[in-house]
Structure formats: structure tokens, C-alpha cells
């Protein structure tokens, strides 16, 4: 059946997502589910495609006219849902609002902080001056949703949630919103870009994994995201269903206590006595622990194939991917040898921590790693706990080794700056460097890359810095998650590496 037939048959799309949308205010809380919905209602200057590559959005083009000056040419004839025209003033207004959203627990302010000055050249041209050379400005612009100066003057988060202010230029307009339950959308017939396939969308939130799958199987919804890996095999076999998959941008990795020279809190010797020095400071030990892990087995057995073993942040095809750096092969023998070299022929004991409600199968993965480490003589106790308690303790550096994940912007500087770089309050580096890894050489390379406007040269610098970090086992990358959506057979979906689930990506087959 052609698209037209499918459309008349099902003008409404019922879809369910696994993470609740907490706010329709696009500048209130940086959270994937919120961003996905914002991307349906609003637009950004620069959009991203399924592979996280930049595409013209409300800006038709952008160029660096000086190392610290960017010029954006805006699209003409774009109108907000209420008919107001989109102009450069709206962008300026948006930049002003972003840092001033009251009570925001996780604001978007960091994206406008590098901006020193915005100059409106004409109604559809902007010149943005940054504090020093800032190559990441376009990347930052992919995160900011543009509001209308007239409409959104003085509106509050509640106005967005109530629908009064949920007015953008995006492909859908919001019809109704029941917090934490569902949002109903209607197609924006005036949309400047590709016309979405469905006239109405019923966007439901079903947080329980099995319930979401059941809703799809029962036919209550036609499309779901975050397909639980346990159900993959069954869903793949189901003739009525189709899947859409893409390797994402979220790396699951292990972090170690690099911070303590003396005893690390959850490490003891093979007999359970304290060890006065922290073995995890020894590169050989870290290598051994990484080597002991059979990533392919974890991906196959625990993740049911929904992942790609990796030794670095990104999958191929992403800017600053290290081409000749394959995932570590398991080598228990080699690992034992390295341990012996490092002075632990009997191994030692360690507790591996991790969350049990954050990433798919997180609790299972740490158990599997526990098995593998125990097999090379590192007797591992495994402790999983809810993210709520886990993350604060991890942040305070209370653990010796723990599993955690990181979803990157598609640019090596992003994970490097946050996970690897030495913690530095001034520069805002190392925010999530919970193992307190520190390597001055890498810091220097990163600093240089962050001033390099030329993409090719910047990529080389970033590759070198990443390589150095992984060779020093700053963290132990495990695998990159695959994002999976499931739908009725008569639908198709343009998958997205950035995990956003949006109605405009779904079309009848």
C-alpha cells in the first residue's frame, strides 16, 4: 500500500516512549525525552540528521568569518504556529532567555556562555562573536530551540506545560498534554521542511519496559522506543512487526579510582586484608582488568546483540572516531600475566559498583564482568543500586570501580573534556570525571583542539588525545549501545543515533 492509503487508514499515530517528558519548556531541563518533544514543536538553527551530522535548520548556512566570529543566514518565510514570522530578533531573544529560566535544575546556559556578542545584521542575518576562537559554536546551536520574541516574552515553564506557550516553528503543534502520561500533537501544515506523514500523533509515556512491549503486541500503540533487549528475539520473529536500529552515541564503560594513592576503599588483597597502595593506579592492573573482559560475550549474551563492543567513545562515521583502534579482545592469560607483573600473582579483591535502573541490563553487565574478573583471580563482589543513591556516591568518588555510561555530542572534545580532562573548576572541565583521572599531556592537547577552528586539524588533535587516554586506560570502554525502536510492519522509522524519538521520523511503509 502506498503512503496515501496508509495515511487514510491510520491518520493518527499512537506511539509510546519509555522515558517521561518532564517539561515542554525547551530551555528548562536538558533531558533526552524533553529534547525529543521539543524537536517536534520547535526548531533549532542547526538540525542534526540520524547520524548526528549537522543540517540546516532555521539557519540556512553558517560560516566562521573570523576565528571568533560566526555568521548565520536565517531561513525566510518561516512562521510560528500562531502565525508570527521568524526573524533574527527571535534568535537574540532566545539567547537572552536561555540562561534566565527560573529554577532550572539543568539549564542550557552553557551553550550561550561562549557568546560575547550577537549582532543583528538584518532581519535574517546574525553575526555571533565568541570569547576567543570557539569551533564548537555550530555544535552548540544544535541544542538550542528557538522561541518567538512576541509570544514568549515573560512566559513561564508552566505556560509551556499547559500548552499556552508551546508554540514553535516545528513540524507539530501541541494539542493537549497530560503530564507524565501523554501528549497529543497535530501536524503543522505550514511546516517549512519535509511534511510529517501523520496528521495526528498520540505520544504516550509507558515507563515500564514490559508494559511498553505488551502495548505494542496488543496493538494499543504502533510504535515504541527503548525496546527491552530481553524481548528482541521474540519481536524480531513477529511477522506483524518491524524494527529500526542504529548504533548510538552512548558508551558504557568502567571507571576506576585514579584518585587515591593509598588504599582504595573497595580493594583488598586476595585474603581480604587491606592493601596500602591503590592497585588501580598501576597501568598494568588496569590493562589486565580491561583485557579480562569478553565484550563480545557481554554484547551477545547479556545485551542480546543490542550493542557494539568498543574501545573508544564513538562508532565509525562520527567526527573524531579513531579508525585503527579496535575493541580489546579478551585474553585471560595475558591479564593474569600482567597482574603478576604488577605484583598481584594471587590477584586481589574488589567491589564493582553500578546502577541497576539506569542503562539496559546494567545490573547484569556488572555481574558478567564480575564473573570475568573473578576468573583472572580478581575476586569481585558486585553491588548494584538505584541510580538515585549510586550517582551521588560515584560523584563523591566513593567507589573503586564502577560501571557508568556517557552519551556524547558527536565530537571528541565533548567526552574528553567531561570524562578524561583533569577536574578544573575554572575551565569547567572534568565535570563527570568521577574517577579523578588526570593527565596533563591530554589536557594540553584538548586545550589546543578546542581553539582549532579547522575541522580536519581539530579532528587529528582529538584523535591523538583520545588514543593517549585509552592507551593509558583512563576508562575501560565496554560497548556502545544500539538504539532500537519497534513498530508495526506497515511503518518505517528513520533511526537516530542521538536516541531522540520523534514522530516526524516515522512514516508509513
Amino acid at each position: 500500500p502506498g503512503p496515501a492509503a496508509a495515511q487514510t487508514a491510520a491518520p493518527t499515530l499512537n506511539m509510546a516512549v519509555g522515558a517521561p517528558v518532564t517539561s515542554l519548556d525547551p530551555h528548562f531541563h536538558q533531558l533526552s525525552p524533553n529534547n525529543a518533544v521539543a524537536a517536534m514543536i520547535f526548531d533549532r538553527l542547526i538540525n542534526t540528521d540520524g547520524q548526528a551530522r549537522m543540517q540546516p535548520g532555521l539557519a540556512e548556512s553558517w560560516t566562521a568569518i573570523a576565528p571568533d566570529v560566526w555568521e548565520f543566514k536565517l531561513r525566510r518565510g518561516v512562521r510560528f504556529h500562531n502565525g508570527n514570522e521568524f526573524t533574527a530578533e527571535d534568535v537574540v531573544f532566545t539567547f537572552q532567555r536561555v540562561p534566565n529560566v527560573p529554577n532550572s535544575p539543568s539549564s542550557f546556559a552553557a551553550f550561550v556562555r561562549p557568546i560575547r556578542n550577537v549582532e543583528v545584521v538584518d532581519s535574517h542575518t546574525l553575526r555571533i562573536t565568541t570569547n576567543g576562537p570557539y569551533p564548537l559554536l555550530p555544535q552548540d546551536m544544535t541544542n538550542l530551540y528557538i522561541l518567538d520574541r512576541e509570544t514568549h516574552q515573560g512566559v513561564t515553564t508552566e505556560d509551556f506545560n499547559a500548552g499556552r506557550a508551546a508554540i514553535g516553528t516545528g513540524p507539530y503543534r501541541m494539542v493537549s498534554h497530560r503530564m507524565g502520561d501523554r501528549i497529543e500533537f497535530e501536524r503543522n501544515e505550514q511546516y517549512f521542511g519535509e511534511r510529517p506523514a501523520f496528521a495526528r500523533v498520540n505520544y504516550r509515556m509507558i515507563t515500564n519496559d514490559s508494559a511498553r512491549t505488551a502495548a505494542l503486541l496488543a496493538g494499543d500503540v504502533e510504535f515504541i522506543d527503548q525496546v527491552p533487549t530481553a524481548d528482541l528475539a521474540r519481536l524480531r520473529q513477529d511477522q506483524r512487526l518491524a524494527m529500526s536500529e542504529v548504533t548510538g552515541l552512548r558508551l558504557i564503560y568502567l571507571a576506576f579510582d585514579h584518585h587515591r594513592d593509598d588504599a582504595s576503599p573497595f580493594v583488598t588483597d586476595a585474603e581480604g586484608r587491606p592493601i596500602p597502595r591503590n592497585p588501580l593506579r598501576d597501568l598494568r592492573v588496569r590493562r589486565a582488568l580491561s583485557m579480562a573482559i569478553d565484550r563480545q560475550a557481554i554484547v551477545d549474551r547479556v545485551m542480546e546483540g543490542a550493542g557494539t563492543p568498543s574501545a573508544q567513545f564513538f562508532p565509525p562515521g562520527i567526527f573524531s572516531f579513531i579508525p585503527d583502534f579496535p575493541a580489546q579482545r579478551p585474553d585471560a592469560e595475558g591479564a593474569r600475566r600482567l597482574l603478576a607483573e604488577a605484583g598481584f600473582p594471587q590477584g586481589f579483591r574488589i567491589t564493582l559498583h553500578g546502577p541497576n535502573d539506569r542503562y539496559p541490563n546494567d545490573g547484569r553487565v556488572i555481574q558478567a564482568i564480575g564473573q570475568m574478573w573473578t576468573r583472572i583471580g580478581v575476586r569481585t563482589a558486585v553491588e548494584a543500586q538505584p541510580w538515585t543513591t549510586f550517582v551521588a556516591r560515584a560523584g563523591r568518588g566513593e567507589f573503586s570501580a564502577f560501571l557508568i555510561g556517557w552519551g556524547s555530542n558527536p565530537e571528541g572534545s565533548h567526552p574528553l573534556r567531561n570524562l578524561i580532562a583533569t577536574q578544573d573548576r575554572e575551565r569547567g572541565w572534568g565535570a563527570s570525571n568521577r574517577g579523578r583521572y588526570s593527565n596533563r599531556a591530554i589536557d594540553a592537547q584538548l586545550e589546543q583542539a578546542l581553539r582549532e577552528i579547522d575541522d580536519a586539524r581539530r579532528e587529528q588533535l582529538l584523535i591523538a588525545a583520545q588514543r593517549a587516554a585509552f592507551e593509558d586506560v583512563a576508562i575501560v570502554p565496554l560497548y556502545i549501545q544500539t538504539n532500537i525502536w519497534a513498530m508495526r510492519r506497515n511503518l518505517q522509522h528513520a533511526s537516530r543515533a542521538d536516541e531522540l524519538t520523534r514522530a516526524q521520523d516515522i512514516r508509513p511503509r
Binding site: 509510546a16 517521561p20 518532564t22 517539561s23 519548556d25 528548562f28 531541563h29 536538558q30 533531558l31 527560573p102 529554577n103 532550572s104 535544575p105 539543568s106 539549564s107 546556559a109 552553557a110 513561564t156 515553564t157 508552566e158 506545560n161 497530560r178 503530564m179 507524565g180 502520561d181 501523554r182 504516550r204 509515556m205 509507558i206 515507563t207 515500564n208 514490559s210 508494559a211 511498553r212 505488551a214 502495548a215 503486541l217 496488543a218 496493538g219 494499543d220 535502573d357 538505584p386 541510580w387 538515585t388 543513591t389 550517582v391 551521588a392 556516591r393 560523584g395 556517557w406 565533548h414 573534556r417 567531561n418 573548576r425 575551565r427 569547567g428 572541565w429 565535570a431 563527570s432
Partner: protein, 324 residues
């Protein structure tokens, strides 16, 4: 009566204060909401700004003081996550939970009372043994497991009922209710049954033991000695007496159902308060947690009060003045 109410109110007030303090200290100990809420790539500056924006920079006792001060003015704080008044958030979700709780209570009484009466009147019959053994199943299996089983059978396999969600709603008293539409009602059935299972067992058990004890009372025998029909003896003399414990326990259960239908709500994606509180606990959204508990405590107190009043309506021997 007035004294009784006053006493209840003053005691309730103390309970509220104690509860809010426990929650404040408890949530503080569990973790740091900023760690959970903030984007992981936010730098230190961002973090500090967020901490300040949420008022978490003050010492705990000062935060508590601010809370109390505002609470006395009717403001229970704003949600960290939703940036909406916590009270409003909770009240939005309340109808969903209320109808689920009342639905399940209704089912459990509808099924439990007759079965319990039967089991009590004929304690040695095979039927009553089956009922009693069956009622154990009601609380043997974890709710989440039974819930998914229901979905599998009735939604996925048979396709009789919708799997999850709340369905269409209709306006009534300015709120959205799903029991008023056929579609909404069909959504309500399964979660309500899931939640009712435990209560059905409870009601059966209570009713049975109540009937057995009441049947032995002299006044039942005297009623028979008056020549009343067995039906009148059972449905007037016995029934009204067993209603007393049943109403008490069902009332208290209603409270805990409203408060803690967390698991059922999450399995059936039922957008009620239970899901709100578990979500809020997961992100340590303290204003919502505190406001929620305040409301729950108040609700418990109110339900207790209503139960007591009902109790005295049903049992004329109980005079409220006499109770401590």
C-alpha cells in the same frame, strides 16, 4: 464530638510535623538531587547555579525553616523536575489514583463479601475450603507479576482489554475521570483487578471470621428463636455486625491503596500519584515527595476519621467521646 475532632486535629498536626522532618532528613541522606537532575556535562558553575536555584545551598535546617514558613502560607514548594507547584502536580494526578483505588475497593467488596459470607456460613463445605485456599493466592504472588500476566492474557493473547494507560476521560466536577467513558472503563478494569486481588483475600478472610464469630452470638440465636427467616437472620443480624470490622479494614486499606499503588500504576502505565511519587523518589524531587507525604498523611487521617465516624454509625455502642 468537637473534642474528638480537636484532639484528632492536634495530633495530626504533630504527625505532619514529624513526617516532614523525617522526609527532609531522609531525602537529604539518600542523595543529591542536583547530581541526578543536572546534565552530566554541566560544569561546576552550572552545578552551583542549579543548587542555588533549587535552594539547596542553605543548611538543611534553614531549608526546612523555609519549607515550614511557606507551608504555613499554603505553599508546599515547587517541583525540581517539573517546575510546577508540587501540590498542583499531585492534585492533577489524584483523580486517576482515586478511581483506581475506589475501583479496586469496589471489586474486592463485591467479590470478597459474598464469598466470605458463604465461607463463614458453611465453614466445613468443600466450596468454602476452595475459597479459603484460593484466597491465599491473592497475596502469594507479587503484584507486578500478576499484573503482567493479566496484560499477557487479556490484552496480548485475547485482545479483550487494552493493555495500558488510562484511555478516554470525561469531565466531571472539573476533573478528568475515565470511569465515565466505556473506553476509560475498559482501561480501568485490569489495573483495578490487579490491585484488588490482595484486598479480595483480605475481605474474604475478615468476613469469614466475622461471620463465624457472629453466628455464635446469643443475639443471633435469639433472632432465630424469634422465628425470623434464615435470610433475615443472615442479611440483617449477621451482616450488619460483620460490616463493622470490614468497613474499618477496608477503609484503612483504601488509604494504603491510594498511597502505595506504585507497582500497579507502573506496570499498567496508569498516570496516577503512585507513579508520580516513585518517579519523584527516583530523582529525589524533594518538594513533591514532601508534599505528597503531607497529603497522604492528611488523607490517612481523614480516612481514619471517616472510618471512625462510620464505625460509630454502624455500631451504636461506640461513642466517640469514649475513645482515647
Amino acid at each position: 464530638m468537637t473534642v474528638y475532632l480537636l484532639r484528632r486535629i492536634s495530633q495530626s498536626f504533630l504527625v505532619l510535623v514529624a513526617m516532614s522532618m523525617i522526609v527532609f532528613v531522609g531525602v537529604y541522606a539518600v542523595g543529591d538531587p542536583v547530581e541526578i537532575l543536572i546534565s552530566p556535562d554541566a560544569d561546576q558553575m552550572e552545578r552551583e547555579r542549579a543548587i542555588q536555584a533549587l535552594g539547596l545551598d542553605l543548611p538543611l535546617w534553614e531549608q526546612y525553616g523555609v519549607f515550614v514558613w511557606r507551608a504555613l502560607h499554603g505553599d508546599l514548594g515547587r517541583s525540581f523536575v517539573y517546575n510546577e507547584p508540587a501540590l498542583q502536580l499531585i492534585l492533577q494526578k489524584m483523580p486517576a489514583t482515586l478511581e483506581l483505588a475506589f475501583g479496586s475497593m469496589f471489586i474486592s467488596v463485591l467479590i470478597g463479601l459474598p464469598l466470605g459470607m458463604y465461607a463463614g456460613l458453611k465453614p466445613d463445605s468443600a466450596g468454602s475450603k476452595v475459597i479459603m485456599a484460593g484466597s491465599i493466592l491473592g497475596f502469594s504472588l507479587p503484584t507486578f507479576w500478576v499484573g503482567l500476566m493479566l496484560i499477557m492474557v487479556f490484552a496480548v493473547q485475547l485482545g479483550w482489554l487494552p493493555s495500558t494507560g488510562r484511555g478516554e476521560t470525561a469531565h466531571f466536577l472539573g476533573l478528568q475521570w475515565s470511569f465515565l467513558t466505556a473506553n476509560g472503563l475498559s482501561h480501568l478494569v485490569m489495573p483495578a483487578i490487579n490491585l484488588a486481588l490482595f484486598k479480595i483475600s483480605l475481605v474474604i478472610r475478615l468476613t469469614r471470621s466475622g461471620v463465624r464469630e457472629t453466628m455464635l452470638m446469643d443475639y443471633v440465636k435469639f433472632a432465630r428463636a424469634k422465628g425470623l427467616s434464615p435470610a433475615r437472620v443472615t442479611f440483617v443480624h449477621v451482616f450488619k455486625n460483620i460490616l463493622i470490622p470490614v468497613v474499618t479494614v477496608v477503609g484503612l486499606e483504601l488509604g494504603s491503596t491510594i498511597a502505595f499503588s506504585v507497582v500497579t500504576e507502573s506496570v499498567f502505565a496508569w498516570p496516577g500519584m503512585g507513579k508520580l511519587i516513585i518517579d519523584s523518589i527516583n530523582v529525589l524531587d524533594r518538594p513533591v515527595i514532601v508534599a505528597y507525604l503531607m497529603i497522604i498523611v492528611l488523607m490517612f487521617i481523614t480516612i481514619n476519621l471517616i472510618v471512625d465516624l462510620l464505625y460509630s454509625a454502624l455500631d451504636p455502642r461506640v461513642r466517640l467521646e469514649g475513645k482515647a
